[in-house]
Protein backbone atom coordinates (compact mmCIF):
# COMPACT_ATOMS: atom_id res chain seq x y z
CA UNK A 1 0.00 0.00 0.00
CA UNK A 2 1.74 3.12 -1.17
CA UNK A 3 0.17 6.48 -1.77
CA UNK A 4 0.87 8.71 -4.72
CA UNK A 5 3.81 10.51 -3.11
CA UNK A 6 5.50 7.22 -2.71
CA UNK A 7 5.27 7.00 1.02
CA UNK A 8 3.74 4.08 2.76
CA UNK A 9 0.60 4.56 4.74
CA UNK A 10 -1.65 2.04 6.28
CA UNK A 11 -5.36 1.87 5.76
CA UNK A 12 -5.32 3.94 2.61
CA UNK A 13 -5.01 7.23 4.47
CA UNK A 14 -3.75 10.28 2.65
CA UNK A 15 -0.28 11.29 3.60
CA UNK A 16 0.51 14.78 2.45
CA UNK A 17 3.65 16.87 2.15
CA UNK A 18 6.23 17.56 4.77
CA UNK A 19 4.72 19.19 7.84
CA UNK A 20 7.81 19.55 9.90
CA UNK A 21 11.41 19.10 9.05
CA UNK A 22 14.34 18.86 11.43
CA UNK A 23 17.55 19.85 9.69
CA UNK A 24 20.96 18.99 11.14
CA UNK A 25 19.87 19.32 14.71
CA UNK A 26 22.53 19.21 17.40
CA UNK A 27 21.82 19.65 21.08
CA UNK A 28 24.41 19.94 23.81
CA UNK A 29 24.13 20.20 27.55
CA UNK A 30 27.45 21.38 28.79
CA UNK A 31 29.71 18.53 27.73
CA UNK A 32 26.93 16.05 26.94
CA UNK A 33 25.92 15.84 23.32
CA UNK A 34 22.34 14.67 23.55
CA UNK A 35 21.62 14.98 19.82
CA UNK A 36 24.27 14.93 17.17
CA UNK A 37 23.45 16.32 13.74
CA UNK A 38 20.15 14.63 13.10
CA UNK A 39 17.80 15.37 10.23
CA UNK A 40 14.41 13.88 9.53
CA UNK A 41 10.96 14.99 8.57
CA UNK A 42 7.36 14.41 9.53
CA UNK A 43 4.74 14.30 6.83
CA UNK A 44 1.26 15.52 7.14
CA UNK A 45 -1.15 12.84 8.28
CA UNK A 46 1.37 10.13 9.04
CA UNK A 47 2.27 8.37 12.25
CA UNK A 48 5.96 8.80 12.77
CA UNK A 49 7.77 6.89 15.49
CA UNK A 50 11.07 7.63 17.14
CA UNK A 51 12.78 4.73 18.82
CA UNK A 52 16.13 4.12 20.39
CA UNK A 53 17.75 3.00 23.58
CA UNK A 54 17.38 4.90 26.83
CA UNK A 55 19.21 8.15 26.83
CA UNK A 56 19.42 8.24 23.07
CA UNK A 57 17.94 11.70 22.91
CA UNK A 58 14.41 10.93 21.82
CA UNK A 59 12.66 13.03 24.41
CA UNK A 60 15.13 15.80 23.80
CA UNK A 61 14.20 15.75 20.15
CA UNK A 62 10.54 16.04 21.02
CA UNK A 63 11.39 18.89 23.35
CA UNK A 64 13.04 20.68 20.49
CA UNK A 65 9.99 20.23 18.31
CA UNK A 66 7.76 21.66 21.01
CA UNK A 67 10.10 24.53 21.71
CA UNK A 68 11.21 23.58 25.21
CA UNK A 69 14.82 23.09 24.18
CA UNK A 70 16.53 25.34 21.71
CA UNK A 71 18.85 23.36 19.45
CA UNK A 72 22.50 24.29 19.67
CA UNK A 73 22.71 23.96 15.90
CA UNK A 74 20.34 23.28 13.07
CA UNK A 75 16.91 24.45 12.00
CA UNK A 76 13.35 23.45 12.50
CA UNK A 77 11.12 23.96 9.50
CA UNK A 78 7.39 24.01 10.00
CA UNK A 79 5.11 23.89 7.02
CA UNK A 80 8.03 24.60 4.78
CA UNK A 81 9.24 27.72 6.55
CA UNK A 82 12.03 28.04 9.05
CA UNK A 83 10.58 28.47 12.49
CA UNK A 84 11.97 31.49 14.30
CA UNK A 85 12.96 31.07 17.96
CA UNK A 86 9.71 30.77 19.86
CA UNK A 87 8.58 30.35 23.40
CA UNK A 88 6.95 26.99 24.05
CA UNK A 89 3.52 28.53 24.40
CA UNK A 90 3.86 30.17 21.03
CA UNK A 91 4.77 26.84 19.49
CA UNK A 92 1.70 25.33 21.09
CA UNK A 93 -0.39 27.99 19.44
CA UNK A 94 0.88 26.98 16.03
CA UNK A 95 -0.94 23.69 16.51
CA UNK A 96 1.59 21.46 18.24
CA UNK A 97 0.34 19.53 21.25
CA UNK A 98 2.09 16.89 23.27
CA UNK A 99 2.09 14.46 26.13
CA UNK A 100 4.99 13.87 28.47
CA UNK A 101 7.15 10.97 29.43
CA UNK A 102 6.81 11.60 33.15
CA UNK A 103 3.20 12.57 33.26
CA UNK A 104 2.77 16.29 33.54
CA UNK A 105 -0.83 16.76 34.48
CA UNK A 106 -2.14 19.47 36.72
CA UNK A 107 -2.56 17.35 39.80
CA UNK A 108 -4.73 19.69 41.76
CA UNK A 109 -7.38 19.99 39.06
CA UNK A 110 -10.14 17.64 38.00
CA UNK A 111 -9.94 15.62 34.82
CA UNK A 112 -12.45 17.93 33.22
CA UNK A 113 -10.45 21.03 34.09
CA UNK A 114 -7.29 19.42 32.85
CA UNK A 115 -8.81 18.69 29.52
CA UNK A 116 -10.31 22.17 29.41
CA UNK A 117 -6.85 23.67 29.82
CA UNK A 118 -5.99 21.95 26.59
CA UNK A 119 -8.42 24.29 24.89
CA UNK A 120 -7.01 27.45 26.36
CA UNK A 121 -5.31 28.27 23.10
CA UNK A 122 -8.76 28.62 21.57
CA UNK A 123 -10.33 30.78 24.24
CA UNK A 124 -10.61 34.48 23.83
CA UNK A 125 -13.07 35.98 26.33
CA UNK A 126 -11.68 38.92 28.33
CA UNK A 127 -11.11 39.01 32.04
CA UNK A 128 -14.05 41.29 32.75
CA UNK A 129 -16.46 39.03 30.91
CA UNK A 130 -15.11 36.04 32.78
CA UNK A 131 -15.45 37.75 36.10
CA UNK A 132 -19.10 38.47 35.38
CA UNK A 133 -19.69 34.99 33.97
CA UNK A 134 -21.87 36.56 31.40
CA UNK A 135 -22.33 36.83 27.67
CA UNK A 136 -19.38 35.77 25.65
CA UNK A 137 -17.44 34.16 28.43
CA UNK A 138 -20.32 31.95 29.37
CA UNK A 139 -21.20 31.03 25.83
CA UNK A 140 -17.59 30.25 25.08
CA UNK A 141 -17.25 28.16 28.20
CA UNK A 142 -20.30 26.12 27.23
CA UNK A 143 -19.19 25.64 23.65
CA UNK A 144 -15.78 24.44 24.69
CA UNK A 145 -17.24 22.30 27.37
CA UNK A 146 -19.21 20.53 24.73
CA UNK A 147 -16.14 19.93 22.60
CA UNK A 148 -14.26 18.68 25.62
CA UNK A 149 -17.05 16.34 26.58
CA UNK A 150 -16.79 14.80 23.14
CA UNK A 151 -13.13 14.14 23.71
CA UNK A 152 -13.86 12.74 27.14
CA UNK A 153 -16.37 10.38 25.63
CA UNK A 154 -13.96 9.48 22.92
CA UNK A 155 -11.23 8.65 25.45
CA UNK A 156 -13.74 6.79 27.60
CA UNK A 157 -12.98 8.67 30.75
CA UNK A 158 -16.50 9.90 31.46
CA UNK A 159 -16.69 8.25 34.82
CA UNK A 160 -13.71 10.11 36.25
CA UNK A 161 -14.64 13.50 34.82
CA UNK A 162 -14.84 15.19 38.20
CA UNK A 163 -12.04 13.32 39.94
CA UNK A 164 -8.95 15.29 40.89
CA UNK A 165 -6.16 13.99 38.72
CA UNK A 166 -3.81 13.45 41.64
CA UNK A 167 -5.86 10.48 42.75
CA UNK A 168 -5.86 8.64 39.44
CA UNK A 169 -3.80 5.58 38.67
CA UNK A 170 -0.98 5.91 36.23
CA UNK A 171 -2.65 4.49 33.17
CA UNK A 172 -5.67 6.71 33.43
CA UNK A 173 -3.44 9.71 33.86
CA UNK A 174 -1.81 8.88 30.58
CA UNK A 175 -5.18 8.80 28.99
CA UNK A 176 -6.17 12.12 30.49
CA UNK A 177 -2.96 13.57 29.22
CA UNK A 178 -3.77 12.40 25.73
CA UNK A 179 -7.24 13.88 26.09
CA UNK A 180 -5.74 17.18 27.12
CA UNK A 181 -3.49 17.20 24.09
CA UNK A 182 -6.37 16.30 21.82
CA UNK A 183 -8.48 19.10 23.21
CA UNK A 184 -6.13 21.55 21.57
CA UNK A 185 -7.15 20.10 18.20
CA UNK A 186 -3.52 20.02 17.17
CA UNK A 187 -2.23 19.52 13.70
CA UNK A 188 0.86 17.80 15.11
CA UNK A 189 0.56 15.58 18.13
CA UNK A 190 3.71 14.55 19.96
CA UNK A 191 3.45 11.53 22.23
CA UNK A 192 6.32 10.65 24.52
CA UNK A 193 5.93 7.02 25.55
CA UNK A 194 2.14 7.07 25.66
CA UNK A 195 1.94 3.42 26.63
CA UNK A 196 4.63 3.09 29.21
CA UNK A 197 3.37 1.30 32.27
CA UNK A 198 0.34 -0.22 30.63
CA UNK A 199 -0.69 -3.77 30.18
CA UNK A 200 -1.60 -5.22 26.85
CA UNK A 201 -5.26 -4.54 27.16
CA UNK A 202 -4.64 -0.91 27.94
CA UNK A 203 -2.11 -0.62 25.19
CA UNK A 204 -4.70 -1.91 22.82
CA UNK A 205 -7.11 0.75 23.99
CA UNK A 206 -4.49 3.41 23.60
CA UNK A 207 -3.60 2.19 20.13
CA UNK A 208 -7.21 2.41 19.19
CA UNK A 209 -7.34 6.04 20.33
CA UNK A 210 -4.20 6.95 18.47
CA UNK A 211 -5.36 5.35 15.28
CA UNK A 212 -8.77 6.91 15.54
CA UNK A 213 -7.34 10.36 16.06
CA UNK A 214 -5.07 9.93 13.14
CA UNK A 215 -7.91 8.63 11.01
CA UNK A 216 -10.81 10.80 12.00
CA UNK A 217 -9.10 14.14 12.38
CA UNK A 218 -6.16 13.49 10.11
CA UNK A 219 -3.84 14.54 12.92
CA UNK A 220 -0.17 14.02 12.30
CA UNK A 221 1.37 12.03 15.12
CA UNK A 222 4.93 11.67 16.23
CA UNK A 223 5.44 9.14 19.00
CA UNK A 224 8.19 7.68 21.08
CA UNK A 225 7.63 4.17 22.30
CA UNK A 226 9.61 1.25 23.58
CA UNK A 227 7.06 -1.45 22.82
CA UNK A 228 8.16 -2.67 19.46
CA UNK A 229 4.86 -4.39 18.81
CA UNK A 230 3.10 -1.07 19.08
CA UNK A 231 5.67 0.81 17.06
CA UNK A 232 5.80 -1.66 14.27
CA UNK A 233 2.05 -2.02 14.07
CA UNK A 234 1.08 1.59 14.24
CA UNK A 235 3.70 3.70 12.60
CA UNK A 236 4.16 4.58 8.99
CA UNK A 237 7.81 5.46 9.31
CA UNK A 238 10.33 5.07 12.10
CA UNK A 239 13.43 7.04 13.04
CA UNK A 240 15.97 5.20 15.11
CA UNK A 241 18.34 7.07 17.37
CA UNK A 242 21.28 5.85 19.32
CA UNK A 243 23.42 8.00 21.58
CA UNK A 244 22.33 11.11 19.80
CA UNK A 245 22.95 9.82 16.32
CA UNK A 246 20.46 8.67 13.75
CA UNK A 247 21.08 5.07 12.83
CA UNK A 248 18.02 4.29 10.81
CA UNK A 249 14.98 5.82 9.16
CA UNK A 250 12.31 4.13 7.12
CA UNK A 251 9.24 1.93 7.20
CA UNK A 252 8.89 -0.48 10.06
CA UNK A 253 9.90 -3.31 7.85
CA UNK A 254 13.04 -1.57 6.70
CA UNK A 255 14.01 -0.65 10.19
CA UNK A 256 13.33 -4.07 11.53
CA UNK A 257 15.84 -5.51 9.12
CA UNK A 258 18.51 -2.85 9.62
CA UNK A 259 21.48 -4.54 11.24
CA UNK A 260 22.62 -1.38 13.05
CA UNK A 261 19.23 -1.09 14.61
CA UNK A 262 19.19 -4.67 15.67
CA UNK A 263 22.60 -4.34 17.26
CA UNK A 264 21.96 -1.09 19.03
CA UNK A 265 18.42 -1.46 20.11
CA UNK A 266 16.26 -4.39 19.28
CA UNK A 267 18.64 -7.05 20.40
CA UNK A 268 16.69 -9.71 18.59
CA UNK A 269 14.79 -9.20 15.33
CA UNK A 270 11.18 -8.23 16.11
Amino acid sequence: MKDSSGHPAAGGRRVGGVLMEMRNITLRFGGVVAINDISFDIREGEIRAIIGPNGAGKSSMLNIVSGFYVPSEGQVLYRGRERPPMKPYEVARTGVARTFQNIALFEGMTVLDNVMTGRLTHMTAGIAAQALWWGRARAEEMAHREAVEKIIDFMEIQSIRKTPVGRLPYGLKKRVELARALAAEPSLLLLDEPMAGMNVEEKEDMSRFILDVNDEFGTTICLIEHDMGVVMDLSDRVVVMDYGRKIGDGTPDEVRRNQDVIDAYLGVPH
Binding site: S59, N63, F68, F100, Q101, N102, A104
Partner: protein
Protein backbone atom coordinates in the same frame (compact mmCIF):
# COMPACT_ATOMS: atom_id res chain seq x y z
CA UNK B 1 21.65 65.02 42.41
CA UNK B 2 23.45 62.64 40.12
CA UNK B 3 26.69 63.73 41.71
CA UNK B 4 25.32 63.01 45.16
CA UNK B 5 24.45 59.49 44.17
CA UNK B 6 27.47 58.58 42.11
CA UNK B 7 30.56 60.49 43.06
CA UNK B 8 30.13 61.91 46.52
CA UNK B 9 29.74 58.64 48.41
CA UNK B 10 33.04 57.42 47.05
CA UNK B 11 34.70 60.69 47.75
CA UNK B 12 33.47 60.41 51.33
CA UNK B 13 34.86 56.92 51.59
CA UNK B 14 38.24 58.03 50.37
CA UNK B 15 38.24 61.06 52.62
CA UNK B 16 37.90 59.04 55.82
CA UNK B 17 39.34 55.57 55.26
CA UNK B 18 39.40 54.72 58.95
CA UNK B 19 35.69 55.36 59.10
CA UNK B 20 35.17 53.23 56.02
CA UNK B 21 37.05 50.43 57.73
CA UNK B 22 34.90 50.79 60.79
CA UNK B 23 31.77 50.63 58.64
CA UNK B 24 33.03 47.51 56.93
CA UNK B 25 33.91 45.90 60.23
CA UNK B 26 30.50 46.60 61.70
CA UNK B 27 29.00 45.19 58.53
CA UNK B 28 31.18 42.13 58.75
CA UNK B 29 30.17 41.41 62.32
CA UNK B 30 26.47 41.75 61.70
CA UNK B 31 26.96 39.77 58.51
CA UNK B 32 28.48 36.92 60.49
CA UNK B 33 25.56 36.92 62.83
CA UNK B 34 23.05 36.90 59.97
CA UNK B 35 25.03 34.08 58.47
CA UNK B 36 24.85 32.08 61.69
CA UNK B 37 21.08 32.29 61.70
CA UNK B 38 21.01 31.44 58.01
CA UNK B 39 23.14 28.41 58.70
CA UNK B 40 20.44 26.91 60.88
CA UNK B 41 17.92 27.51 58.13
CA UNK B 42 20.12 25.92 55.50
CA UNK B 43 20.69 22.78 57.47
CA UNK B 44 17.03 22.18 58.02
CA UNK B 45 16.08 23.16 54.52
CA UNK B 46 18.60 20.80 53.08
CA UNK B 47 17.39 17.86 55.00
CA UNK B 48 13.70 18.34 54.63
CA UNK B 49 12.88 21.20 52.28
CA UNK B 50 11.35 22.79 55.32
CA UNK B 51 11.74 26.49 55.37
CA UNK B 52 12.21 26.75 59.10
CA UNK B 53 10.79 30.04 60.13
CA UNK B 54 11.31 29.13 63.75
CA UNK B 55 15.08 29.43 63.53
CA UNK B 56 14.89 33.02 64.75
CA UNK B 57 12.85 32.18 67.79
CA UNK B 58 15.08 29.23 68.52
CA UNK B 59 17.92 31.70 68.88
CA UNK B 60 15.95 33.69 71.43
CA UNK B 61 14.76 30.60 73.17
CA UNK B 62 18.25 29.17 73.49
CA UNK B 63 19.68 32.41 74.82
CA UNK B 64 16.84 32.86 77.29
CA UNK B 65 17.17 29.33 78.53
CA UNK B 66 20.86 29.81 79.09
CA UNK B 67 20.42 33.05 80.99
CA UNK B 68 17.44 31.67 82.87
CA UNK B 69 19.25 28.55 83.96
CA UNK B 70 22.20 30.58 85.06
CA UNK B 71 19.93 32.84 87.07
CA UNK B 72 18.59 29.76 88.79
CA UNK B 73 22.08 29.18 90.06
CA UNK B 74 23.68 26.82 87.61
CA UNK B 75 27.33 27.58 86.85
CA UNK B 76 27.76 29.07 83.39
CA UNK B 77 29.15 26.05 81.58
CA UNK B 78 26.75 23.65 83.20
CA UNK B 79 23.99 25.97 82.11
CA UNK B 80 25.32 25.74 78.56
CA UNK B 81 25.21 21.97 78.72
CA UNK B 82 21.73 22.04 80.18
CA UNK B 83 20.61 24.41 77.46
CA UNK B 84 21.90 22.01 74.86
CA UNK B 85 19.81 19.38 76.59
CA UNK B 86 16.78 21.60 76.28
CA UNK B 87 17.47 22.18 72.61
CA UNK B 88 17.70 18.44 72.12
CA UNK B 89 14.37 17.91 73.78
CA UNK B 90 12.96 20.61 71.56
CA UNK B 91 14.33 18.86 68.47
CA UNK B 92 12.77 15.59 69.52
CA UNK B 93 9.47 17.26 70.30
CA UNK B 94 9.35 19.06 66.98
CA UNK B 95 10.04 15.86 65.14
CA UNK B 96 7.49 13.84 67.10
CA UNK B 97 4.67 16.31 67.23
CA UNK B 98 5.00 18.25 64.04
CA UNK B 99 7.20 16.77 61.38
CA UNK B 100 6.21 13.15 61.65
CA UNK B 101 2.52 13.64 60.98
CA UNK B 102 3.25 16.14 58.25
CA UNK B 103 5.76 14.14 56.31
CA UNK B 104 5.30 14.43 52.59
CA UNK B 105 3.06 17.47 52.74
CA UNK B 106 3.62 20.42 50.42
CA UNK B 107 6.42 22.79 51.36
CA UNK B 108 4.13 25.63 52.17
CA UNK B 109 2.27 23.57 54.74
CA UNK B 110 5.47 22.73 56.54
CA UNK B 111 6.49 26.35 56.36
CA UNK B 112 3.22 27.25 58.04
CA UNK B 113 3.85 24.63 60.64
CA UNK B 114 7.14 26.24 61.55
CA UNK B 115 5.31 29.51 61.98
CA UNK B 116 3.02 27.64 64.35
CA UNK B 117 6.07 26.43 66.24
CA UNK B 118 7.33 29.99 66.36
CA UNK B 119 4.15 31.26 67.96
CA UNK B 120 4.11 28.41 70.41
CA UNK B 121 7.68 29.06 71.48
CA UNK B 122 7.08 32.78 71.85
CA UNK B 123 4.15 32.16 74.16
CA UNK B 124 5.95 29.48 76.09
CA UNK B 125 9.14 31.49 76.36
CA UNK B 126 7.34 34.54 77.67
CA UNK B 127 5.53 32.49 80.27
CA UNK B 128 8.69 30.87 81.49
CA UNK B 129 11.20 33.67 81.16
CA UNK B 130 9.12 36.83 81.11
CA UNK B 131 9.56 39.63 78.65
CA UNK B 132 12.28 41.70 80.28
CA UNK B 133 15.55 42.34 78.59
CA UNK B 134 18.23 40.22 80.21
CA UNK B 135 21.96 40.48 80.33
CA UNK B 136 23.88 37.74 78.58
CA UNK B 137 26.30 35.99 80.90
CA UNK B 138 29.28 36.88 78.72
CA UNK B 139 31.75 37.29 81.52
CA UNK B 140 30.84 34.04 83.17
CA UNK B 141 31.35 32.30 79.86
CA UNK B 142 34.76 33.88 79.58
CA UNK B 143 33.95 35.96 76.53
CA UNK B 144 36.32 38.93 76.43
CA UNK B 145 34.55 42.25 76.62
CA UNK B 146 37.27 44.79 76.02
CA UNK B 147 38.16 46.39 72.74
CA UNK B 148 41.10 46.76 70.42
CA UNK B 149 41.79 50.27 69.27
CA UNK B 150 43.78 51.01 66.13
CA UNK B 151 44.66 54.29 64.62
CA UNK B 152 45.09 53.75 60.92
CA UNK B 153 45.94 56.88 58.91
CA UNK B 154 45.66 58.84 62.11
CA UNK B 155 42.00 57.89 62.40
CA UNK B 156 40.23 55.58 64.78
CA UNK B 157 39.13 51.99 64.49
CA UNK B 158 37.54 50.18 67.39
CA UNK B 159 37.14 46.43 67.31
CA UNK B 160 35.22 44.83 70.13
CA UNK B 161 36.95 41.74 71.44
CA UNK B 162 33.53 40.16 71.67
CA UNK B 163 33.03 40.67 67.95
CA UNK B 164 36.40 39.24 67.14
CA UNK B 165 35.55 36.19 69.21
CA UNK B 166 32.25 35.80 67.38
CA UNK B 167 33.98 35.90 64.03
CA UNK B 168 36.42 33.20 65.08
CA UNK B 169 33.78 30.94 66.60
CA UNK B 170 31.58 31.31 63.55
CA UNK B 171 34.41 30.36 61.26
CA UNK B 172 35.11 27.21 63.29
CA UNK B 173 31.46 26.26 63.34
CA UNK B 174 31.14 26.57 59.59
CA UNK B 175 34.22 24.52 58.96
CA UNK B 176 32.90 21.78 61.19
CA UNK B 177 29.54 21.76 59.49
CA UNK B 178 30.97 21.66 56.02
CA UNK B 179 33.14 18.73 56.95
CA UNK B 180 30.16 16.94 58.42
CA UNK B 181 28.04 17.35 55.33
CA UNK B 182 30.70 16.53 52.78
CA UNK B 183 32.57 13.72 54.37
CA UNK B 184 30.00 11.67 56.21
CA UNK B 185 27.36 9.20 55.29
CA UNK B 186 24.87 11.26 57.27
CA UNK B 187 25.75 14.27 55.18
CA UNK B 188 24.80 12.48 52.01
CA UNK B 189 21.65 11.13 53.58
CA UNK B 190 20.71 14.65 54.58
CA UNK B 191 21.00 15.81 51.02
CA UNK B 192 19.11 12.82 49.69
CA UNK B 193 16.32 13.49 52.12
CA UNK B 194 15.99 16.98 50.76
CA UNK B 195 15.38 15.67 47.27
CA UNK B 196 12.72 13.09 47.84
CA UNK B 197 11.31 12.05 51.19
CA UNK B 198 9.61 8.98 49.87
CA UNK B 199 12.61 7.66 48.07
CA UNK B 200 14.77 8.35 51.08
CA UNK B 201 12.38 6.39 53.23
CA UNK B 202 12.41 3.57 50.74
CA UNK B 203 16.19 3.17 50.94
CA UNK B 204 16.05 3.02 54.67
CA UNK B 205 17.05 6.50 55.66
CA UNK B 206 15.29 7.12 58.91
CA UNK B 207 13.63 10.47 58.74
CA UNK B 208 13.20 10.57 62.47
CA UNK B 209 16.84 10.19 63.33
CA UNK B 210 18.04 12.63 60.74
CA UNK B 211 15.46 15.23 61.57
CA UNK B 212 16.15 15.11 65.25
CA UNK B 213 19.83 15.37 64.53
CA UNK B 214 19.43 18.24 62.15
CA UNK B 215 17.12 20.17 64.42
CA UNK B 216 19.48 19.60 67.26
CA UNK B 217 22.41 20.94 65.28
CA UNK B 218 20.24 23.89 64.32
CA UNK B 219 19.60 24.30 68.04
CA UNK B 220 23.32 24.35 68.77
CA UNK B 221 23.82 26.97 66.11
CA UNK B 222 20.93 28.88 67.62
CA UNK B 223 22.59 28.84 71.00
CA UNK B 224 25.87 30.13 69.62
CA UNK B 225 24.03 32.84 67.74
CA UNK B 226 21.99 33.68 70.80
CA UNK B 227 25.07 34.09 72.97
CA UNK B 228 26.73 36.27 70.36
CA UNK B 229 23.74 38.54 69.72
CA UNK B 230 22.78 38.55 73.35
CA UNK B 231 26.21 39.70 74.41
CA UNK B 232 25.85 42.63 72.04
CA UNK B 233 22.29 43.67 72.61
CA UNK B 234 20.85 41.86 75.60
CA UNK B 235 18.46 38.98 75.44
CA UNK B 236 14.78 39.51 74.84
CA UNK B 237 12.11 38.61 72.36
CA UNK B 238 12.91 41.70 70.35
CA UNK B 239 15.88 39.71 69.03
CA UNK B 240 13.48 37.76 66.94
CA UNK B 241 13.14 40.43 64.28
CA UNK B 242 16.79 40.11 63.46
CA UNK B 243 16.03 36.66 62.20
CA UNK B 244 14.34 38.22 59.20
CA UNK B 245 17.72 39.36 58.07
CA UNK B 246 18.70 35.78 57.53
CA UNK B 247 16.14 35.46 54.78
CA UNK B 248 17.79 37.63 52.14
CA UNK B 249 21.07 36.03 53.11
CA UNK B 250 19.58 32.67 52.24
CA UNK B 251 18.13 33.97 49.06
CA UNK B 252 21.40 35.48 47.99
CA UNK B 253 23.52 32.52 48.95
CA UNK B 254 21.12 29.80 47.91
CA UNK B 255 18.76 27.95 50.19
CA UNK B 256 20.76 24.79 50.45
CA UNK B 257 24.30 26.05 50.53
CA UNK B 258 26.42 26.42 53.63
CA UNK B 259 29.00 28.40 51.72
CA UNK B 260 26.19 30.51 50.37
CA UNK B 261 24.98 31.34 53.85
CA UNK B 262 28.40 32.57 54.85
CA UNK B 263 29.23 34.46 51.70
CA UNK B 264 25.69 35.84 51.50
CA UNK B 265 25.79 36.89 55.13
CA UNK B 266 29.06 38.72 54.79
CA UNK B 267 28.05 40.38 51.55
CA UNK B 268 24.76 41.54 52.90
CA UNK B 269 26.18 42.66 56.19
CA UNK B 270 28.81 44.81 54.59
CA UNK B 271 26.90 46.09 51.59
CA UNK B 272 23.85 47.11 53.55
CA UNK B 273 25.99 48.99 56.01
CA UNK B 274 27.86 50.75 53.23
CA UNK B 275 24.65 51.62 51.47
CA UNK B 276 23.01 52.88 54.60
CA UNK B 277 25.95 55.05 55.61
CA UNK B 278 26.91 56.48 52.25
CA UNK B 279 23.61 56.54 50.40
CA UNK B 280 20.74 55.78 52.73
CA UNK B 281 21.36 58.25 55.51
CA UNK B 282 22.46 61.25 53.47
CA UNK B 283 20.09 60.77 50.54
CA UNK B 284 17.11 58.59 51.34
CA UNK B 285 16.17 59.40 54.90
CA UNK B 286 17.92 56.44 56.48
CA UNK B 287 16.74 53.06 57.72
CA UNK B 288 17.38 51.50 54.37
CA UNK B 289 18.75 48.47 56.14
CA UNK B 290 15.20 47.20 56.50
CA UNK B 291 14.90 46.54 52.80
CA UNK B 292 18.28 46.90 51.18
CA UNK B 293 19.27 43.29 51.72
CA UNK B 294 16.03 42.04 50.24
CA UNK B 295 16.23 44.24 47.19
CA UNK B 296 19.86 43.32 46.66
CA UNK B 297 19.03 39.65 46.86
CA UNK B 298 16.10 40.14 44.52
CA UNK B 299 18.30 41.76 41.93
CA UNK B 300 20.88 39.00 42.17
CA UNK B 301 18.16 36.41 41.87
CA UNK B 302 16.96 37.89 38.62
CA UNK B 303 20.25 36.74 37.19
CA UNK B 304 20.69 33.56 39.19
CA UNK B 305 17.30 32.26 40.29
CA UNK B 306 18.85 29.73 42.64
CA UNK B 307 21.07 32.24 44.43
CA UNK B 308 24.81 32.43 44.18
CA UNK B 309 25.58 28.98 45.51
CA UNK B 310 22.22 27.25 45.42
CA UNK B 311 21.60 24.03 43.60
CA UNK B 312 20.55 24.34 40.01
CA UNK B 313 16.81 24.20 39.71
CA UNK B 314 16.17 21.14 37.59
CA UNK B 315 13.57 21.82 34.95
CA UNK B 316 12.74 18.84 32.82
CA UNK B 317 9.76 17.28 31.22
Amino acid sequence: MLYDFTVKPFADMAAAPDFLLQVLWEGLVSGILYALIALGFVLIFRSSRIFNFAQGIMVVFAALTLVGLHAMGLPAWIAVAATLGVMFVLAVAVERVVLRPLVGQPDIILFMATIGITLFLIGLGEIIFGGENKVMISEELGIPTGDFVFEPWGGLLILQQLDVTVVIVAALLVAALLAFLTFTRMGRAIRALGDDHQAALSVGISLQTIWVLVWFIAGIIALVTGIAWGARAGVSFALEVIAYKALPVLMLGGLESITGAIVGGLMIGMLEKLFEIYWGQPLLGGNTETWFAFVLALVVLLFRPQGLFGERIIERV
